[in-house]
Amino acid sequence: MASASTARKRLPSRPVILAMQVGVLIGFFLLWHVLTATNILSPFFFGTPLAVLERTFKDFASGAIYYHLGITLLETVLAFGIGTVAGILFGFWFARVPLVSAVFDPYIKAVNALPRVVLAPIFALWLGLGIWSKVALGVTLVFFIVFFNVYQGVKEVSPVVLANARMLGANSRDLLRHVYLPSALAWVFSSLHTAVGFAMVGAVVGEYLGSAAGLGYRIHQAEGVFDTVGVFSGMLVLTIFVIIIDAAVTFIEKRLLHWRPQEAHTTNAQG
């Protein structure tokens, strides 16, 4: 205990850590550059960092990437929105009606155990190669995360808090609004980072497997012509995209969950 806290105190200040983090990034690109420049790693298979950065910059400068970014963003947002709303509704229903959860329990578990990626071709068949097959894949991923968290959140409402609200005169509608919903939302938000991530995975994997637009499509295209630089550039854009979305989620989370003790937050590595 004591050693842990003194070890934490000995950590250098934030700017120093930030400088070290930037150092790691530069070091990684330098190593990549040196290895490919000296042909120890073939630039054909590994690309070169300068070419990747140049390609990425060009894509943004020419504006070619924005259309694909927009498509992927739209799919992600739709998958996240639909999956979350459905997850909340079903989570509440299952938690409040024990018979439903008892009957459907094995099926929920079975569907959740199924690797959702194998559904992508089916969705492409059903919904075509447009955005909706990707949204459907994302929804199947997001839904279960939100569903299980809402179910847990409603089930684990403190019985004392519940009894207290009832004694204060809350009817079942008040209980839903003032007790069950906030409790469930706390669980939903604690899984928000994962849910957004999965919505993204659904969109990109869907695009990768068959589409005419989006970041996954671009990576797939580049791969098809052995354009390594294009693949890495696509991955770089994807990474930046995820970091921005994650920051937005963190911002929303802080606004909506400011009632929670600070240590409950799991912070992703920043910078």
Binding site: A163, N164, A165, M167, L168, A170, H178, H258, R260
Partner: protein, 274 residues
């Protein structure tokens, strides 16, 4: 009984028995309290003491209407209780504040549940926060308050809806002794300003005597029964820290403890057996 008021008492328990089915649904059921009968007059402060596991909280839950007795009858102002007791406010032993609401919104909650608009409820909650000394802490969330402050918020939350009966389940047991005596005095002040019936559960006999008009003693469980009733004729207003030194308090304490001690020992033996 010396009470000769014509109106029916605030609370009347008659032959209340509470039996829980065994957890696995097969084995023997567990009778927590058996054949408990007592009354609480309007404006009376009654404490129930008893050893651990004697079903004190169970009785309180039955009075609150959170638990239906397996036998017997709970009457509130003469009417048989079915469902939640609308005349009662309940201060729980554990933290019962809604963690997602600020202190002010927690106090306002009871009014909101009664159909008061949010704005008006918050306006009426502010003076209550001030009354428990937390006027400047309205925007804090429960996790940002100390244990004593949370109890004050809970007290304001319970009192704002003006219950005729207040049920308290070891409300101050988690507090340190200084904070606890402060809270006890504050509670007595609030109570004497606007006399309500109080049923106060505690395992601390000194606290029970210092606060109450009457002390009821429960036997060790299972199937705990009421085995003693003592009138506390100490004058009010009282200071809970000072009153403990008076000779009459010590006499009362000696008398009740003589009975309670045997039950505590029995209760201790029971828990050791399990």
């Amino acid at each position: 009984m010396p009470e000769s008021s014509t109106a029916s008492p605030a609370l009347a328990l008659d032959g209340v028995t509470i039996t829980f089915p065994s957890p696995d649904g097969r084995g023997r059921s567990y009778t927590a309290v058996q054949d408990v009968a007592f009354t609480v007059a309007a404006g009376e402060f009654v404490s129930i003491v008893g050893p651990t596991g004697s079903g004190k909280s169970t009785i309180l839950n039955a009075i609150a209407g959170l638990l239906e007795p397996s036998g017997g009858d709970v009457r509130v102002f003469g009417e048989s209780l079915g469902g939640i007791n609308r005349h009662a406010g309940y201060m729980f032993q554990a933290d019962a504040l809604m963690p997602w609401k600020s202190a002010l919104d927690n106090v306002a909650a009871g009014l909101e549940f009664r159909g008061v608009s949010r704005g008006e409820a918050r306006q009426r909650a502010q003076p209550w926060l001030e009354r428990v000394g937390l006027g400047r802490f309205g925007d804090r969330f429960p996790h940002q308050l100390s244990g004593g402050m949370r109890k004050r918020v809970a007290l304001a939350q319970t009192l704002i809806v003006d219950p005729k009966i207040i049920l308290m389940d070891e409300p101050f047991s988690a507090l340190d002794i200084q904070t606890r005596q402060l809270m006890e005095n504050e509670l007595l002040d609030l109570w004497s300003a606007d006399r309500k019936s109080v049923v106060f559960i505690t395992h601390d006999l000194e606290e029970a005597i210092a606060m109450s008009d009457r002390v009821l003693v429960l036997s060790a469980g299972p199937a705990a029964r009421l085995i003693g009733e003592y009138r506390v004729d100490l004058e009010r207003p009282r200071d809970v820290a000072e009153i403990r030194m008076t000779p009459h308090f010590l006499d009362l304490h000696r008398e009740i403890w003589a009975q309670l001690r045997d039950e505590v020992l029995k209760g201790y033996a029971q828990t050791k057996l399990q």
